[in-house]
Assembly symmetry: C2
Homo-oligomer: 415 residues x 2
Amino acid sequence: VTSILALAQNARRTAAELRSLDRGRKDRALHAIARGLRDEADLIREHNARDLEASRAQGLSSALLDRLRIDAKVIEESARGVEFIASLPDPVGSIESMQRHENGMLFGKQRIPLGVIAMIYESRPNVTVDAAALCLKSGNSVLLRGGKEALHTNQVLGQVVGRALTASGLSPSAVQIVPATDRDGIRELLGLTDYIDLAIPRGGEGLIRFVAENARVPVIKHYKGVCHMFLDRGAPLDRAVALTINGKAQRPSACNALECLLVHAEDAERLIPPVAAALIEKGVEIRGCPRTTALVSAARAASDEDWGREYLDYVIAMRVVSGIDEALAHVARYGSNHTEVICTPDQSHAQRWLREVDASCVLVNASTRFNDGGQLGLGAEIGISTSKLHAYGPMGLASLTTEKWVVIGEGQVRA
Amino acid sequence: VTSILALAQNARRTAAELRSLDRGRKDRALHAIARGLRDEADLIREHNARDLEASRAQGLSSALLDRLRIDAKVIEESARGVEFIASLPDPVGSIESMQRHENGMLFGKQRIPLGVIAMIYESRPNVTVDAAALCLKSGNSVLLRGGKEALHTNQVLGQVVGRALTASGLSPSAVQIVPATDRDGIRELLGLTDYIDLAIPRGGEGLIRFVAENARVPVIKHYKGVCHMFLDRGAPLDRAVALTINGKAQRPSACNALECLLVHAEDAERLIPPVAAALIEKGVEIRGCPRTTALVSAARAASDEDWGREYLDYVIAMRVVSGIDEALAHVARYGSNHTEVICTPDQSHAQRWLREVDASCVLVNASTRFNDGGQLGLGAEIGISTSKLHAYGPMGLASLTTEKWVVIGEGQVRA
């Protein structure tokens, strides 16, 4: 078994090769990966069946088994995802503008890969192919440490990707599956500051906290999405209903789903009953403040734990506030810097919301569900950040790069 | 004494106020700080004298006493530095471009402050004023933890700044001096992930390693600048001499000073003797490989420790290499991702150098000394990063900001 240190050293060596690859070679390798996935679909499903069987024997829930399962449709979607990433522009190499120094030399910033990325994730094996393709396209090598229940699946996916890389004349070490299945292994990986430039954890809050607390390498993460919408005075009812239902019920398990509705007191009677009725019709449970429960007989009384809570389910918190100040204060206290919406006809309130709310995505009169890499023009998403360093919000290919300075002179020295 | 936690909580609260300040208010406060420094110059010098006396009694070296000393000239320079920062464009608020989503809503990225910055530094008290001004201009609140030998000076500077903030209608908690003088205090500060968005250590490698190893908050740092120049085949002698002397001898104590010269073997006899003579004339000691010492009788033989060494002094390492491949390999092995120069007449070698060298600044035919925020158009510099996340190279005001997504719709929901 190759040690974790040796894997990371391989990754660092390979990163130096990947750094200056031109787009054509990267895209040809991506197309080879897509072909490999389709050609070896049966092999992948065999290995996946072993993981499923072992997990079933261990009594994993059917929801977890569903996440783990790979069928023909999932493989085809993965292959198309890789082809789509091949179609995106190369994030590496561009120099936005060169300036001329007063001494005549030219200088500017050139976009380059970060180097070595470590992805730490849980059961979904589709992350394996996705992350491999995004890292390759952006010129990074990647260490993939998925969930232990998906280990056979991830290993065969790693082999398929590795064969495609080799066939394309690239080093298979560009994409490596980390075999370590215990947390000591992750801890070792997260300490290798000389070899790893960035760790991205994806999964439940427990995994993410473990990574954040044990990493010596930089980490970009988000813990949770406690997304609010404030229905301001004068919000049109049809719009309030549409944005609430889309935010809460279109995909409640997503981190950009709406979790808490704040309603202006002067419009509570006008807005709350019909909005609540629409939610209840969609099967959403309402946990409300006293003024809400007085207006909606089916609503349960919210407890203190309901403010700032991420349900990821058909549940919503609702609270009447005295106006935009109280709404802003609620969001500042209970929000998770993820996604915050105001629904308002008032231009100055819209501007205040945009200016004062501290979140990775602040929206006026649009659904929380738009805080998404695909919707915001990033093409594909490798994760989302709710901390501010390097990236804030959805992370696309550009977030896997940085910029170095380049200077072109003719013998200039500093005075 | 206010606890470190309470200081950090104040800073977080104040950050919310600073976030949406317009440029006029920030610049007026900066001018008030500059006036305060001039008006209270005597008071500042009195407190500085106490620090100097205590440090002298403890036997600090005269070099350290020099760094600690504040005289009328230093105060005037500080005040002018603050006025210069006021004259720079506001890094906050701009949206480079808004795109239109296919559903009609507008979206883009707006530049915002990071929030709360912790500066951890050593003896130079001028960092106190500099960092305060840069953080204020970029809308961040800052916690300043300078060296314990400069504590009185830093505290009086903090008071002067605080009075100027109050007089300008801003909270004095925008700039706070951390009184803790031991490493436990720093450790506590570096663990406050809910309150601090970024720590920037500045000082010797020991301090920086301590911060990097003990921080739970994000850190941007650089350990050292081991800067190389490769004199390629055909490099013009006058240019080789000028770039070498400027890189090594203009300011040897700077992190962008030249530390090692690599020379193409075919031109070693032509280039090394005159370049060495010019260095020796400037009082530079040469530590060379066997081929170098054979050409320069005054050169000492380099030991293994001389490769990859940051002298910060009138010393240079010199090594003959077989060509660009060996030069690139030497830089990849011994460089510190800081500043790397090629001096070459060969366009394809210049392009290879720019493409393949992994450093925060890669230069062709220009002095290492240009890797500097002022020279590269940043106006002012708060630090330099040799790791890739968020910033790589000199960090100006923009490095103290990030971007959030803003979306302006008219009721759009996700399909």
